[in-house]
Symmetry: C2
Subunit: 203 residues, 2 copies
DNA sequence: AGAAAATTTGCTGATCACGCAAAATCCTTC
DNA sequence: GAAGGATTTTGCGTGATCAGCAAATTTTCT
């Protein structure tokens, strides 16, 4: 079923994503026009907009995929697993390959890309948008798992939204850790703290 | 010190905000151009952009003010107050006047405005942007209060970001509650749960 | 009143995003 | 393997947003 058509579509999508990211990293976000990205990917500018609705979508597409992957990962966790274990693993998983627990440093280009997402205001906004756009689905998956009604109960959406936020905080902390630290444990800490409660440290 | 200049500036800002909101509610967001808002406020289109950088900023300006107000409110809480009490009150305060604990229903126009913020994707994105743009400041205020170093400690930013998210969830829940419920208790519940931990309901 | 400072405004240019229809490409069926 | 159908790409045109710049207007200060 993987016709040439689908493969080509995936390929241009991929080409546009990497072109956008590469150019933005090289020249700075403001010196990249849609036209440039399209040219780099060997495609007409009009086609760019068939794939991505805004100039920034292509750059944040990887992040969009990560977010969606978390939702799917949660749905794929074994049924017996305790809820917070499942949720933690699901949230961590898409980040694991970037910067695992092992000492190996993440690819610098990849890190620069993530850093740009959190430093360029326009990309930060786009990232937030996709993260919280998906959180209806995340809430639904959570509701399903804990047996709640997502429309009436506050719990699923509260957990979905705060977990999403906690991951953001974890990534941000990871980005600014001076002796670099591995990301995955940071994320686990965030989620464990969230599950257990956030009392003030000194009280 | 309240020269005519400053008063006029406040007035046009206010006029632009209300004009933008009114038009968006009346016609739908997509049928409002910057030009229309400026005309409604009796000002040139170019001036609109001196006040607001995007078409959506004016509409979400009230929300922006709420977010900022929370940060200031936290800084203004009495020093002896327990941390989570202070934080809860600070987050709730800007919303309190809209829909307090008392039975009085909120002004329908006001409610429609808030609902539009969470239903129109573009406005939702803008709201998220301002909420999380301010959360560096919120984290700083939290760090100050609990005596932490916002650059090194994860706690302040984790709390800031999750609290912001929890408020979002609370407001969203309030908006879809079928027999309407007062907002403030919902927000308090969200924040109490966040502070105490979010174990799965049935485990 | 008159100079200095700040704000408003019109103009302009760069860019973006999308509708539409023609051209190009891929897939299916005979 | 060729014709016909379906999908994608592309070019063109349109409407709109946003920011820089300099002139005009308004407020403030002396």
């Amino acid at each position: 079923m993987t016709g040439l058509r689908e493969r080509k579509k995936q390929a241009t999508r991929e080409a546009l994503m990497t072109a956008a990211l590469r150019l933005a990293l090289e020249r700075g976000l403001d010196n990249v026009r849609v036209e440039d990205i399209a040219a780099e990917a060997g495609v007409s500018p009009r086609t760019y907009n068939n794939y991505f609705a805004s100039k920034y979508e292509a750059i944040t597409a990887r992040h969009t995929d990560r977010v969606r992957a978390s939702v799917e990962a949660l749905r794929a966790r074994p049924a017996g697993e305790p809820f917070w274990d499942a949720l933690t693993e699901a949230m961590v998983q898409p980040w694991a390959r970037h910067a695992g627990t092992t000492g190996q440093a993440p690819a610098p280009e990849l890190l620069a890309g993530i850093r740009m997402l959190s430093e360029e205001p326009a990309l930060r906004a786009e990232s937030l948008k996709v993260a919280f756009a998906a959180d209806g689905e995340l809430a639904a998956a959570i509701a399903e798992r804990v047996g709640a009604d997502p429309a009436r109960d506050l719990y699923p959406s509260l957990v979905a939204v705060t977990v999403t936020a906690a991951v953001q905080a974890g990534v941000a902390h990871w980005l600014r850790a001076d002796p670099p630290v591995p990301l995955v444990p940071v994320l686990r800490d965030c989620l464990r703290a969230l599950a257990a409660g956030l009392p003030a440290p000194t009280e």
